[in-house]
């Protein structure tokens, strides 16, 4: 492994940007914006380098040796004596085929959100400082391989998001911000508890032969590392692994957001400024699904296997229920928010399949939903900037005087509907193919497939209300896209096409890891160890 601290740079580059922003006088608005743009831009470049240097044949998942760009430095070490023994928290970063697509997505979406933030006028300095902090939090969460470190990044993300919605948001921003904050924090409590439980139940042995508890996620995935009597140890006949799984799952499910924990999302989206909505839908929601795959699936495989039907059920509810709720909306942004609920349901459904095709589809869907929904929110932002309304019935006929804008809208809408040739189709199909293969969730899969009809229904209806028909006279002098708007929409549209036609670009990156993940979750035998005890 090279000694170049690639992942640290990826993670903390925005912090460097933040420090520069903080040092700039607050009148230097453009300089602040340019600093942010450069920081996120460099992050994209770095992510590109990471991709270029990524070895497709190394799986990662549960094996520290096959993670890439690993950086591991002891961070906090102290001997608590006889009470807990050695406490050891590592600064442990690494990337595999599961996190690599998310890293690329985070870098890309942050960069595009930075462009989209260009017309932020109020407290520019504070906004961009928080924005960059948020970026670091997201990137770190995807890269951390130490649970404690993960948790730190996870919480770091919360704070800037709270202020970004609460200060720069719409009319009900305080309500939305607090709801978002408390809800996520509520979930974090479970994550924290499970983290401590796992810590107390898992041992790691140093080179010198000393045993100590560890926050190392990868160690938690191997049954042989567990203590005899740890509260979450499979060797302990009275273990609480099932409850821990549920707690952790709920903690992450809130972020996805999974029914019935989703109601913070529409409020947060409606109130958040456009770039923050883009980040929220583009990256933050993926953290929930990523957490479940990285933690629940790999650390609690035996419980995962028992609960797939329930995961599929909630996936189906998200798809169908989200679609129906979307159909009832009169606010453009709220509609897209509910469509996110529906589309994240596909991720859950694919995850429930526990096979390569379904899980591959789920992770690809995470990436694709990130790009497609980011595009949709940007498109809403474009008209909102011009008209200061988002009411679906306030528009009509925009195709007449905004043909280019409408062109992009057609791409994004049809990608969301799952039109072949665009990226959404590939991931949705793989989710269906993978899930349908599993007998126990076959019926749920078929019901979920009705989502393709409902999706077409509400998307085309929206399309018609906003873009088709006679031009609403109020909007006769609207201008089509400007250069800045092109720079945010074109890259996303290109990716949507590219991954629709050559999905292998992304699939090859993940395949080895997904394969190993399937092994880990379907084969790792926590149960037999337990029954061996009895």
């Amino acid at each position: 492994m090279s000694s170049f601290p690639m992942l640290t740079l990826l993670t903390f580059l925005p912090i460097i940007g933040m420090v520069i922003v903080m040092m700039l006088p607050k009148e230097k608005r453009s300089l602040i914006k340019i600093t942010t743009l450069v920081a996120t831009g460099l992050q994209v470049v770095l992510a590109g380098f990471m991709w270029a240097g990524f070895n497709y044949s190394q799986a990662g998942i549960n094996n520290p040796a096959t993670f890439q760009f690993v950086e591991r430095i002891p961070w906090i070490t102290f001997d608590s004596g006889s009470w807990l023994g050695m406490i050891k928290i590592d600064y442990f970063l690494g990337v595999d085929g599961l996190s690599a697509p998310m890293v690329l997505l985070t870098a890309l979406i942050s960069f595009i959100a930075a462009i989209s933030s260009w017309n932020i006028e109020r407290s520019v300095k504070g906004y961009f400082a928080l924005f960059l902090l948020l970026d670091t939090g997201m990137m770190g969460t995807f890269l951390a391989l130490d649970f404690f470190l993960f948790y730190v990044f996870w919480e770091i993300m919360l704070l800037p998001m709270y202020f970004l919605i609460g200060i720069w948001g719409g009319p009900r921003k305080e309500y939305a911000a607090i709801k978002f904050f408390i809800y996520t924090l509520f979930g974090s409590v479970f994550i924290l508890l499970v983290m401590i439980g796992l810590y107390l139940s898992v041992n790691e042995v140093t080179g010198e032969g000393a045993t100590f508890h560890t926050f190392n996620i990868l160690s938690m995935m191997n049954p042989s590392n567990y203590t005899q009597d740890g509260i979450l140890s499979p060797f302990n006949p009275d273990n609480l692994r099932f409850i821990a799984f549920i707690g952790l799952f709920v903690g992450f499910a809130i972020k996805i957001p999974m029914f019935p924990f989703h109601t913070w999302l529409p409020d947060a989206h409606v109130e958040a400024p456009t770039p923050i909505s883009v980040i929220l839908a583009g990256v933050l929601l993926k953290l929930g699904a990523y957490g479940i795959i990285r933690f629940n699936y790999s650390i609690f495989p035996e419980i995962t296997r028992e609960l797939v039907w329930w995961i599929a059920l909630f996936g189906m509810i998200n798809i169908i229920y989200g679609a129906f709720c979307a159909m009832a909306q009169k606010d453009f942004k709220k509609l897209i928010a509910y469509s996110s609920v529906s589309h994240m349901g596909y991720v859950l459904l694919g995850m429930a399949s526990l096979n390569e095709v379904g899980l591959g589809g789920a992770v690809l869907q995470m990436f694709n939903h990130g790009t497609i929904t980011a595009m949709l929110f940007l498109l809403v932002g474009v008209v909102y900037d011009r008209t200061h309304t988002r009411g679906l019935n306030d528009f009509g006929g925009l195709a007449n005087n905004l043909p280019v804008y409408t062109g992009f809208a057609i791409v994004a809408f049809f990608a969301a509907i799952g039109l072949p040739g665009l990226s959404g189709f590939i991931s949705e199909s793989f989710v269906f193919l993978g899930a349908f293969k599993v007998e126990s969730i076959r019926l749920l899969t078929i019901i979920s497939a009705a989502g393709i009809v409902l999706g077409a229904g509400y998307m085309l209806w929206t399309m018609q209300r906003v873009y088709l028909g006679k031009l609403n006279e109020k909007w006769t002098d609207l201008k089509d896209l400007d250069f800045r708007e092109y720079t945010m929409l074109v890259p996303l549209a290109v990716i949507v096409f590219l991954l629709g036609i050559f999905p292998s670009i992304m699939l090859d990156l993940m395949n080895t890891s997904i394969n190993e993940l399937v092994n880990q979750v379907t084969k790792t035998d926590f149960h037999s160890i337990m029954s061996g005890m009895k």
């Binding site: 109601t263 088709l468 028909g469």
Partner: protein, 688 residues
């Protein structure tokens, strides 16, 4: 045959219109003539498809070449894209290219002056590309991909004049109705993949022949077939999803000709023909019933309509129904034959209607037309030939193909004892001749002649269309005559198309398929001997009956609309309820409006109410309760916890108050305390 060479040409044919689409869209910013890029590429498409046909013409009946490549790789699973060259794909590829080219040419004039002129041609390009993909593919996954793309192009073209609410409504309706069908098709494809582990037609066939059945059950094989057929119900506008097609007439008329008459709607029929080897007898029966209903219902609607395009739309529905019914009766080849002949004369009918609409300055109501023969003789000539063809009059292509289907219904009847499909077939033939000649007479010969003259006297010119429009009409009229399909005008079966057809046979196990169908590998023809015996036996009977029905339809139309011996109004009044029912298209739209649209919207509102009130309400309630509990906590803190603290302080103070009394400051008192204490201590210790 060199498969690499074939593939290269196929790739050119497939992608040429896409290149046209992209280049036209890119160029239209700089030049008004961007559409010539599309014209060029559609030309390339025709030439390439023609080359394929010529190269393979010699051995069409045995041709079966696959050329595929890996698209997506998962560990253990590979998804392929590929071509399948056989008689069906090569013939239809050329047919689509040719009709598309003619429609392009026609549109040059028809669409002239439209503000989105080049965009229109670009859309035609992406449609043709999508259609080519469906035709040439070797597997269901790729077919589904292009299937959806066809849906998109149809959406764009129906809604081309999107300023009109009716047009954008129709576009949306078409796409969503198709999605219903696709839902079933997707389920079918999933079932195929789970069962056979492949999407390719050959792979599925191999699996079936080796004894694999979905869930090891013949029932599920039938379900699989019907689910896949659902896709065709959507795309080929079969009952009960037929409602989108008449509305699709909101699109420009040449689009109706290309997409909603000749090609896209044929895709469903084509798909079912492609997968016929996996269709069990039960599945085929379902298909036959759906086909029969789809043939009959629209035929009863067609003669009550006044919009020239609507009449043609219902006739398209009816003809597609006939094709589907023929498939259901096991007559795949005949269905394909009718698909090809119908594509030409129906495209022609729509273009001719377009020519009339153009000549009448965007008038579509036949009540305002009459005697147009005088003003538009060439259009009339073409229209008349098409009418003869669709009505099944000898010497036309339609006569041969329709006769083949009717013959199949009789064979089926004689072999199974079920004659209902034959009755439907002949009934539809009668109705078709009636409503088509009604149209011909009302528009071109009799009809509202005075109205048209009045119109002209007011300075509105009614004129024949320019050559760029008329030539495609005449080409299509020529292609509606028998020599292009068979040199024997009485027998399509001996023509090159039917002879060249690759009759591969059913792969459905014994007992699950029709008894008269042969298992693959046991017969070159795909049928048992009994089928051919019946075929010979009924050939001329079917022909005679079909002629009789066509003649009957013609005669009725002649009496009513040419001789005008019958006052239609009195009959309308007499059968008012029936007429109203038919005129309103059996109230399907109204029914769907209630059970689908209203129901869905209601569900969505109820669920959203639930979401906002119950789900979110619980969240807010939790927050509220937490705050109340914290208020209580605050009170507890203030009065109990803090009270205890204060109490302790007060108590300490009180003790201090008492204790300080002891602090006298006098040495004598302290000595006295000490002495007393020591005495007491001694006392306690002594007791122990």
């Amino acid at each position: 045959m060199n498969s690499e060479f074939l593939s290269t040409i196929a790739i050119i044919a497939l992608f040429a219109p896409l290149a046209g689409f992209v280049s036209t869209l890119l160029l239209k910013k700089w030049t008004k003539n961007a559409h010539y890029a599309e014209m060029f590429f559609i030309g390339v498409n025709v030439v390439a498809a023609g080359t394929l046909l010529v190269m393979t013409a010699g051995d069409l009946h045995t041709l079966h070449i696959i050329s595929s490549f890996n698209w997506i790789q998962f560990p253990g699973i590979t998804f392929e894209l590929g071509f399948q060259f056989d008689s069906l794909s090569i013939i239809l590829l050329f047919g689509v290219a040719l009709i598309s080219f003619l429609v392009h040419t026609f549109s040059l004039q028809y669409m002239h002056g439209d503000k989105r002129y080049s965009r229109y041609f670009a859309y035609l390009g992406i449609f043709t590309f999508s259609m080519n993909g469906i035709v040439i593919t070797n597997n269901l996954l790729m077919m589904y991909i292009f299937w959806e793309l066809v849906g998109l192009s149809s959406y764009l073209l129906i809604g081309f004049w999107f300023e009109k609410t009716s047009a954008s409504d129709a576009a949306k309706k078409a796409f969503i109705a198709n999605r219903f069908g696709d839902f079933g098709m997707l389920a079918g494809i999933l079932l195929v993949f789970v069962t056979f582990g492949t999407f390719s037609f050959d792979g599925i066939k191999e699996g079936l022949l080796s004894g694999i059945l979905p869930f090891n059950s013949g029932f599920w094989l039938s379900v699989m077939g019907v689910l896949l057929f659902c896709g065709a119900i959507g795309k080929s506008a079969q009952f009960p999803l037929h409602v989108w097609l008449p509305d699709a007439m909101e699109g420009p008329t040449p689009v109706s000709a290309l997409i909603h008459a000749a090609t896209m709607v044929a895709a469903g029929v084509y798909m079912v023909i492609k997968i016929y080897f996996l269709l069990s007898a039960d599945a085929l029966l379902v298909i036959a019933i759906i086909g029969a209903l789809s043939a009959l219902i629209p035929a009863t609607i067609a003669f009550t309509q006044y919009d020239i395009k609507k009449v043609l739309a219902y006739s398209t529905l009816s003809q597609l129904g006939l094709m589907v019914m023929a498939i259901g009766l096991g007559a795949f080849g005949n269905a394909f034959f009718h698909l090809m002949t119908h594509a030409f004369f129906k495209a022609g009918l729509f273009l001719a209607a377009g020519s009339v609409i153009y000549g009448m300055h965007h008038e579509q109501d036949i009540r305002h037309m009459g005697g147009l023969k005088k003003y538009m003789p060439k259009t009339f000539l073409a229209f008349a030939i098409y009418t003869l063809a669709i009505s099944g009059v000898p010497l036309t292509s339609g006569f041969m193909s329709k006769d083949a289907i009717l013959n199949a219904t009789m064979i089926y009847g004689s072999l199974t004892g079920n004659w209902i499909f034959a009755v439907v077939g002949f009934g539809v033939t009668f109705l078709t001749a009636f409503y088509m000649f009604r149209l011909l007479f009302r528009v071109f010969i009799k009809g509202n002649i005075t109205g048209v003259e009045h119109h002209i006297s007011h300075g509105h010119k009614v004129h024949e269309s320019p050559n760029v429009m008329v030539v495609p009409l005449l080409v299509l009229a020529a292609l509606s005559l028998f020599p292009f399909f068979s040199f024997n005008p009485l027998s399509g079966e001996n023509g090159w198309l039917m002879k060249g057809m690759n009759f591969a046979s059913s792969a459905v196990p014994d007992g699950l398929r029709y008894t008269f169908m042969a298992l693959a590998g046991t017969s070159v023809t795909g049928y048992t001997e009994s089928y051919f015996e019946a075929s010979h036996h009924y050939h001329y009977i079917a022909m005679a009956l079909s002629l009789l029905c066509a003649l009957g339809g013609f005669g009725l139309a002649y009496t009513v609309y040419f001789k005008e011996k019958v006052n239609t109004e009195t009959y309308k009044a007499k059968f008012r309820p029936v007429y109203t029912f038919l005129y309103n298209k059996w109230y399907f739209d109204e029914l769907y409006e209630v059970i689908i649209v209203k129901f869905t919207l209601l569900t969505s509102r109820v669920l959203f109410w639930f979401d906002a009130t119950v789900v979110d309400g619980l969240v807010n309630l939790t927050a509220f309760l937490t705050r109340k509990v914290s208020d209580l906590g605050g009170l507890f803190d203030k009065y109990v916890v803090d009270g205890f603290v204060n109490f302790t302080a007060m108590f300490t103070g009180l003790i201090g108050l008492f204790m300080r009394k002891l602090q006298t400051g006098k040495i004598q008192t302290y000595v006295a305390f000490i002495v007393v204490s020591i005495v007491l201590l001694f006392f306690f210790y002594a007791r122990q």
